[in-house]
Symmetry: C2
Subunit: 209 residues, 2 copies
């Protein structure tokens, strides 16, 4: 598998991780970049139609990688009990969680045999920080989804998540949330995506911390 | 703490686990039972108003235990990509996940100082079975929620989840999903709830398997 040139869809390509993943994989593979506004093709992961249209248009694809997903950071005291549509948990559930789950569920039906799906979670479910309750919850859901879905994937399709710690490149923005965490290099995080795509692991959380 | 008679709200009291928890705790504590239709008081965990009204009416409470929560078992192939409101993941997200999260978020604001919150998850995020993708995902979310929320609980309030394997008492119904799993006794599962309420652990997943 390592010698075949793969056709890879990278959703979230313009982000810090996405850029590093592109730099890594584009040396050996065809990387099609996607974003909500930029990239070779536009995909809104919260819009199932937009996901399906992209896969139909780009088929055949060997791999999809997601390096995006939003969730709300807020002090737990500010997370009031509320119906889902008014909950501060909604963004994480609709965007980072179900956005990636829906891409995975479309990819399951559209990827070439033996293809791979790689999601992005993060360190916060195992090592929460103040204000991370909602992102922690979403990451826990994603890691469990990957483990369970891997068992039932058809046609040799694999699925993994990459769980990075805070990036050195993002310290200015996120550093105050991650006091005491050793930052990781985006290029090292990109290696985990390469491992998911180019090795044979499945159902794994590839931790970079 | 072990010698004080506590006022405990048990939501889901008529279920197999709930009945065992009641039998265990009622020997030493005041247990107020709640269900959607039965019990001392009616609570619908999907209705935030009903949760808030119950806590206001029953205050002061030292502990709340949830032994309920629904999620959809289905072959992964049948979980189509869909908007959240049409997704087969919605039941688990709205009921088992956000139902319990909302009870926890109300309890955080209403329990007596030093009180405790105990949720129910299950073995499936660590040991998925065919058809469990959605329940596995929800359990992963809940275990991570508990770990993160514990750090930010005010007034010495603690929060844990109990994660049981399949119950011997439920083998007739769930046995076919859990081939090769060693069933556990409801009375042994009840001990974990007692540990959550009557010891000082917090942020833990109390596994019974």
């Amino acid at each position: 598998m390592s010698s075949k040139r793969l056709r890879v869809l990278l959703i979230g390509a313009c982000g810090t991780i996405g850029s590093a993943v592109k730099a890594n994989l584009a040396e050996r593979h065809e990387v099609i970049t996607a974003g909500s506004k930029s990239g070779d093709i536009q995909i809104d992961i919260m819009d199932v139609t937009s996901i399906k249209q992209a896969f139909e248009k780009l088929s055949p694809l060997d791999a999809v990688i997601m390096t995006l997903g939003k969730a709300t950071f807020a002090p737990f005291a500010e997370l009031d009990a509320a119906p889902l549509e008014e909950s501060k948990h909604l963004l994480g559930i609709e965007n980072k969680l179900m956005g990636q789950v829906n891409v995975a569920q479309v990819a399951r039906d559209h990827l070439a045999d033996g293809g791979s799906i790689t999601l992005t979670t993060g360190i916060l479910n195992e090592h929460p920080v103040p204000g991370s309750v909602s992102p922690s919850m979403v990451n826990g859901a994603l890691d469990a989804f990957v483990k369970a879905a891997a068992m039932e994937m058809p046609r040799g399709i694999r699925i993994n998540s990459v769980s990075p710690s805070v990036l050195r490149q993002s310290l200015e923005k996120y550093g105050p949330f991650f006091r005491g965490f050793k930052p990781v290099e985006a290029a090292d995080v990109a290696l985990a995506y390469s491992r998911s795509v180019e090795s044979l692991v499945t159902g794994q959380v590839l931790k970079v911390w």
